[in-house]
């Protein structure tokens, strides 16, 4: 164990998931010498995705083979600022990634574009519903970037990911039976939509019957053979059902490893160092310029990596964590509402319904792909009148059959005991005869939902753990119940023999024991006002202008859709600003 200093590079990237990989590609293409540091091990289709050993629920999902190493580090959680936080000791509610590819290696593939209104959520709601509609405890704010500005980057990200889908409107013209609520697009999807499993087909018929507008979920699971703009190749998805939580054995699911890394490996001005855990972004004596990063390598050496430009792409809340550890920006204070680092942590307000059918109707839920399915957007974003409802936000509703496996298990009818003969009979009778549907809702920020450093718990290096203060609030309960009511209409139209509705009940606390999603956001949010946001519209730190913080950490609120399509577009947007503006004239891209 020694203190080492590496040769200077133009840019250092912290984390090699989707954001790190996109930045690495963009910045090396601009001629910069780039080093990417990833805390976890090297990973790729082989061996992590190799058939048949990857088709193993116990090893991969139940025992978390690809997820964050909890023995080294975690975060602590509490429900409100006056509570004492305790560690999130066993992975359950969310499954953060580690290693080359990040969570991008084992994500599902639902690939969305944020709606135009959500990017200007405060102005939009104020304009349509009046200023008084947004309660004081919900610190909503606009993102500072428009859909039109991001559109080329959404389009390019879809080309890179090889996304399968059906466009509705391209360059102002209706081109097919896509999502009629979609904003205009400059390009169709690079691949046609995926085929539908039976469950999704039932949902489509039922949603149409009740007057909603179903469409195919855009999926970064390839519906055909494909070569992306970087020359990386994908093969058609086989609906193997071992998708979310697994590395794809088949080169069908978009990942940094399949869709970017093969093109980066050839590049002489790029180096990827795995098992390098960044502990700090170093700043100079003024605190306004980053000089590089310090990391601990596999052997325990403490290594300084000097760089002119620092890119922080460590995933959602990890970005806020690194900012707090590095003492960059002002930590958020929930009592005053001042400070920005850790502010507006947000998550996903997901609620579900299971519809059960007779034994002669097989839905075969083991067939599936992570991004596959049918959705309807009638109650997402602001596609419906919120005026009389008294809540902000919405939820796409869908059957997203990613592959139900037996240990995780499928839903069972209400009242089923959890063991014994009756349990066994219920599993036997229902496993292949159920349709699961979700309302995958927004989560608005709350003044009391935030991130800071824990005073008591530490990680394997002695760093304080990140502390998450989070709970559901009125807005979430109201929305949850509205959504299952609307989705219930679809479920009933399927004519099931029984239904089970799972919606948050008022007062029910955030429960870390059950998987929800790994779609966290906020903590280093973007905006136009340096007193209310941590990064500007180009994801550049207001405080340290040679630091760019990329990821869902920039989201001022939690989206109805899954985040990664928007994360990728924002990363390309930030990269373009670095390439075309920052490199010519390093310094703040927006005057402070």
């Amino acid at each position: 164990m020694a203190d080492l200093t590496m040769p200077h590079v133009d840019a250092v990237i912290i984390g090699f998931g989707w954001t790190g990989a996109i930045m690495a590609k963009e910045l090396t293409q601009a001629g910069l010498k780039v080093v990417a540091l990833e805390r976890g091990p090297n990973r790729d289709t082989y061996p992590q995705g190799a058939y048949p050993t990857s088709i193993d629920e116990l090893t991969y999902n139940t025992r978390s083979k690809l997820f964050q190493d909890m023995s080294k580090s975690t975060l602590t959680i509490r429900h409100k600022p006056s509570d004492q936080a305790v560690p999130y000791r066993q992975l359950a509610a969310f499954l953060p990634g580690t290693g080359v590819g990040g969570a991008g290696l084992h994500w599902s593939g639902c690939h969305w574009r944020v709606t135009p209104e959500e990017l200007k959520i405060r102005s939009h709601y104020e304009e349509r519903y009046g200023k008084a509609f947004i309660p004081d405890e919900i610190p909503l704010q606009d993102w500072g970037v428009s859909y039109e500005e991001l559109e080329p980057h959404f389009s390019f990200a879809e080309q890179v990911f090889g996304t399968s889908g059906q466009a509705y409107k391209v360059n102002g013209e209706i081109v097919g039976p896509g999502n009629p609520f979609d904003a205009d697009r400059s390009t169709p999807f690079p691949l046609p939509p995926m085929k539908n499993p039976y469950s999704a087909e039932l949902f489509k018929q039922a949603a149409t019957e009740v007057g909603y507008h179903p469409f195919s979920i855009p999926a970064a699971n390839a519906s055909g053979v494909y070569t992306n703009p970087y020359g990386c190749q994908m093969a058609p998805c086989t609906f193997c059902g071992f998708c979310s939580g697994y590395a794809c054995y088949n080169y069908s699911k978009a990942s940094p490893n399949v869709n970017i890394l093969p093109a980066l490996r050839q590049v002489p001005n790029f180096e990827l160092r795995a098992k390098c855990d960044v502990v700090l972004i170093e700043t100079d004596s003024t605190g306004t310029k980053a000089t590089g990063v310090i990391y601990v390598d596999e052997k325990g050496n403490r290594v300084t990596q000097p760089a002119d430009l620092v890119i922080l792409g460590a995933f959602a809340y990890n970005n806020a964590y690194m900012m707090l550890l590095s003492k960059i920006g002002t930590p958020y204070d929930p009592t005053t509402g001042e400070g920005t680092i850790g502010k507006n942590f947000c998550y996903q307000n997901e609620n579900s319904i299971a519809a059960f059918f007779d034994g002669d109707k097989f839905t075969n839920p083991f067939v599936g792909a992570g991004g596959n399915g049918i959705a309807c957007d009638d109650f997402n974003a602001d596609h419906f009148d919120h005026g009389p409802l008294g809540f902000i936000g919405g939820a796409p509703m869908w059957v997203n059959q990613a592959g139900t496996k037996p240990i995780g298990g499928g839903p069972l009818p209400a009242g089923t005991p959890s063991w014994g003969s009756a349990w066994k009979k219920a599993v036997k009778d229902n496993y292949t005869h159920v349709v699961s549907m979700n309302a995958h809702g927004t989560n608005m920020p709350d003044r009391e939902n935030y991130l800071d450093l824990d005073p008591d718990y530490t990680d394997y290096l002695g760093r304080p753990l990140l502390r998450l203060t989070f709970n559901w609030h009125d807005n979430d309960y109201k929305m949850a119940n509205f959504m299952v009511d609307k989705m219930g209409a679809i479920a009933k139209a399927m004519n099931p023999k029984a239904m089970k509705v799972s919606a948050k009940k008022p007062g029910e606390p955030f429960d870390t024991r059950h998987y929800q999603t790994t779609h966290m956001g906020g903590g280093v949010i973007m905006g136009t006002d340096p007193t209310k946001s941590a990064v500007n519209r180009y994801l550049q730190s207001w405080d340290v202008s040679n630091l760019f913080v990329v990821g869902s950490s920039a989201f001022p609120q939690g989206l109805g859709y899954n985040p990664t399509g928007t994360v990728a577009a924002l990363t390309y947007w930030s990269a373009k600003a670095i390439r075309e503006q920052y490199l010519k004239n390093p310094g703040p891209l927006v005057p402070v």
Binding site: S71, Q90, G241, N364, V367, V427, R513
Partner: protein, 234 residues
Amino acid sequence: MPDTKWTPSRRAFLLATVATIPAVTLSGSLLPSGSKAFAADQAGYTPVFFTQSEWAFVNAFVDRLIPADAEGPGALELNVPVFIDLQMGLPYGYGKLWYMGGPFRTAAPSLGYQLPYAPRDIYRNGIAAAEQAIQQAYGKSFTDLDATTRDEVIAHMQKGKLAMAPVPSDMFFGQILQNTHEGYFSDPVHGGNLGMGAWKMIGFPGARADYTDWINQNGAQYPYGPVSIKDQGI
């Protein structure tokens, strides 16, 4: 991979047993104790982690969590106790997959597991404490209770009502139930789910992983039985 060389003889034994006993007599209610029905077979496997009395407890417990009956195989037939014993020797058993830093505080149940015990400790402490509490209440060991009383005890534990420390009974119950589901439903390569019996019962095709021709069958049943990783030559 765990050494499961002993399985063929066990499989042979079980097949012979199943062939000669009508399905209905396999149901726990007709036997004083399901574990005793298979006791002869335990000679084929020597537990690595569990002591003999712990082993008897685990066998008797999982036998009630997933009993053998006409619907399909029970936990014992599918080697669930063997699976659990093997898991205890892996990093999981030693708590290496969990954050185990202190201090350990009591917190709202919704904030998840907060005890300083790894799975090995949970079983070791839990079995001893449960047996003690059961002795007090019933004057017998769990393994000597009849099936109905065992179920009563388990239902009590599930609700956290069997007074035991340091591992509370609902927590201990949850740990065994989780591991039982794992051993029942995981790939046979891990030592449980013998002959893919649980997969056959529910219609899960295991490691087939290619449904290109079967994406939408319009409500029809998938036509093929399961395959395991092991069957693929590994």
